[in-house]
């Protein structure tokens, strides 16, 4: 084997290892977290309004939804998703998403935590954009 071939193979192996390692480490970082639980949650009745001020200074009223509620809104005209324990109405975001409509339509009616964390985990802008679509919290 010539010197150039050895160098080429070595570099190729290094690139392979680095790329796979980076992808794997990002995958590990974005593993889904367990939803936060709180002993002071008042009601478990689905869709009921409840005061969320128990653990924060935010006095806004947040509705609680089950996964079944989210699943019922699984179309382009009414698109809900749940991400990291919160429920979002992302219907209006479908046409605005920089990555295209399909990426958002794929989240309609399901738990989008894996997809969102994998694509945007740790990024401030997507998280702040998402916060604007929050309509409630998820209950199991």
């Amino acid at each position: 084997m010539t010197k150039n071939k050895k160098a080429g193979l070595t570099l190729g192996i290094i690139v392979l290892l680095i790329s796979s390692s980076v992808a794997y480490s990002q995958y590990q970082e974005n593993q889904p977290r367990t939803y936060p639980t709180s002993a002071s949650r008042e009601s478990i009745n689905p869709g009921t309004q409840t005061n969320s001020s128990a653990n924060s200074t935010d006095t806004s009223i947040l509705k609680k939804y089950t996964l079944a509620h989210v699943a019922a809104h699984n179309t382009e005209t009414s698109c809900w998703t749940t991400i990291n324990g919160d429920v979002y109405d992302i219907t209006s975001w479908i046409s605005q998403h920089p990555g295209g409509k399909q990426a958002i339509i794929g989240l309609c009616g399901i738990d989008g935590s894996d997809a969102f964390n994998g694509q945007h985990g740790g990024q401030r802008r997507p998280a702040s954009e998402l916060a604007g679509f929050k309509i409630g919290t998820l209950i199991k």
């Binding site: 150039n4 071939k5 080429g8 193979l9 690139v15 796979s20 992808a23 794997y24 920089p98 399909q102």
Partner: protein, 138 residues
């Protein structure tokens, strides 16, 4: 300084090597990401592919990821550079057509251009079949 100047004429010959390794690294990253977490990528599979193949979106993502890791890995190692780079370029064209002219699509056009450049150049000085050692680079 003189030693450094003596290396400058050799630099252009490493340009295609850098391009090949960089592009291969990106392809391997995407492939590995798809193999590890199919759920993240299923929304990018067009409906017509699912109905044509009768395979689930998760299976298609897995197959796509495997293809990208294998093809990208072989390109990084310098094997079958031209055929695989051509195949990956055509693959990227399909992805761009599906994603459209969004920021992701524009970025993918850049990646496709790099792959086309690698396909056109063929084997470089560090490939398994470097131009100096073979008469045919395909």
């Amino acid at each position: 300084m003189n030693t450094l100047k003596s290396y400058i004429p050799q630099l252009p010959s490493f340009a295609p090597v850098v391009l090949r390794l960089g592009i291969a690294g990106v392809v391997i990253w995407f492939g590995t990401s798809q193999l590890l977490s199919q759920a993240m990528w299923t929304s990018f599979i067009p409906d017509w592919v699912i109905s044509l193949t009768h395979l689930s979106a998760t299976t298609l993502v897995f197959i796509n990821g495997l293809f990208e890791v294998v093809a990208g890995g072989l390109v990084a190692l310098g094997f079958c550079v031209r055929p695989l780079a051509t195949l990956l370029f055509l693959h990227m064209i399909g992805i761009i057509a599906s994603v459209g002219l969004s920021p992701i699509g524009i970025r993918d056009i850049g990646i496709a251009t790099g792959l086309l450049s690698v396909a056109l150049y063929g084997n470089d000085i560090l490939s398994w079949k470097s131009p100096a050692s073979t008469s045919s680079s395909v």
